[in-house]
């Protein structure tokens, strides 16, 4: 029995079990699921939510497993998305920096960790991560992550407009690493883009696809408006991705973060949404043959509407 509420609970439990081995985690999850199924069968007048409440918060249940084994219970992360985003950002920022980080982990003066405050300083402050206020300083630039959102303060701008001839250009393809994106419906026949970023970005047309390549950047904050009718494909690593009132087929692939798809009023969509670890709101697909196909795939995070 596929039940999103139960699956969400079990996903949170799995995450909160943290240090326990994968196979043991799997058994624990299976046993809790088995219990819930028994509870649902034996008390049909109790709702699933009530039964889950009776179990307790997944983090509390996990903590009890950890305590029984003499392991440290996990501190609830202040902003769970911040943790994913910070790990994701650091992971893709630069392989050489991460390698250095791993090497220098043994040399404690160069990596200072204050666990209680969630503060990590690496390489004398070259990378400075403060989890509780969501500030990640990398070199001269700064990335501020607050709750589920972030601000970028890097210097370069990448912006312009591209006139789209729908007889020639069928697709707009966007490549990002870490990004905060806002895609809207353009009322014109142009793609308008306005980005704050670092690194190199290119735009060019290639066999019917208008390609926006920001792979050379580690961070980008972009507002893009796309005309109706062309296909939109976005590939990104980590970040916050908003798609508002689109009248396009959309294919999005991302690693960690939050995706928001706001359907246009009176527009028909057919949804194919997938989150490996995380949460997803309900999306109702239309059975109209001309409905726009919306495919969103995210490893860790949330898909909201």
């Amino acid at each position: 029995m596929e039940n999103q509420e139960l699956e969400n609970y079990l996903a949170k439990l799995e995450r909160a079990l943290g240090a326990i081995s994968v196979s043991e985690k799997a058994e624990i999850i299976m046993e809790i699921k088995s219990h819930v199924l028994d509870a649902v069968e034996s008390s049909p007048d109790r709702s699933l939510s009530e039964i889950l409440k009776g179990l307790g918060e997944p983090e509390q249940v996990a903590n009890r497993y950890l305590l029984e084994r003499g392991l440290e219970p996990q501190k609830a992360p202040k902003h769970p998305i911040v943790k994913w985003l910070v790990i994701g950002f650091l992971g893709t920022f630069s392989i050489s920096v991460v390698a250095m980080f791993v090497l220098l982990w043994n040399f404690t003066p160069l990596v200072q960790v204050d666990e209680a405050k969630g503060h990590v300083k690496i390489l004398g402050g070259l990378i400075d991560v403060q989890e509780d206020n969501g500030r990640v300083k990398i070199g001269d630039g700064e990335l501020k992550i607050g709750g589920d959102d972030f601000e970028i303060e890097f210097g370069s701008e990448f912006s312009g407009t591209e006139e789209i001839d729908v007889s020639k250009v069928k697709k707009a393809l966007f490549w990002f690493n870490n990004a905060k994106l806002k895609f809207r419906n353009s009322e014109t026949s142009e793609i308008e883009y306005d980005c704050d970023t670092n690194g190199e970005a290119h735009v060019g047309e290639n066999s019917g696809t208008m390609e926006f390549n920001l792979k050379g950047t580690s961070m980008a904050s972009c507002k893009v408006s796309v005309p109706k009718g062309i296909d939109v494909e976005v590939k990104a690593q980590n970040g916050i991705f908003n798609f508002l009132d689109l009248e396009n087929n959309l294919n999005f692939e991302g690693m960690n973060g939050k995706v928001r798809f706001q359907p246009g009023k009176e527009v028909a969509y057919k949804y194919k949404m997938k989150v490996q670890n995380g949460l997803m709101d309900d999306f109702e697909s239309s059975d109209k043959s001309d409905a726009y196909k919306i495919e969103i795939e995210l490893m860790n995070g949330k898909i909201k509407n």
């Binding site: 058994e27 299976m30 088995s34 028994d38 009776g54 307790g56 249940v61 009890r64 497993y65 029984e68």
Partner: protein, 125 residues
Amino acid sequence: MYLVMEIEIKNWLTQIKKGYLDLCILALIESQEKTYGFQLISSLGEHGITVKEGTLYPLLNRMTKDGLLQARWETEDIQGHPRKFYSLTQTGRNNLKAMRTEYESMYVTFEDINTVGGKNGKSRA
């Protein structure tokens, strides 16, 4: 009034219930030979012991790791869902025996203390 008393002795109750619960769980599993979590919660409930599910499963998990219990996944029929059944290991049986002896001896000692004059045998009014 009972509730008020419970609150005042809350710390003591928590401590004593921990050991008592371990003993009761082992004894119940022994009497049923094998049982699964949900069934155990019901059985404990029938005997007046309320355990939160969120407490019991981690406990069973710990007892299994400590070698007192062995667990086996079993599915009743093709449509059923798998359940984790627990039974006592030899170590579990030995422990239970030792715990029972201790518990009974504690009970006797307490009864003894409770009697005014101790070994004189005069009972409380």
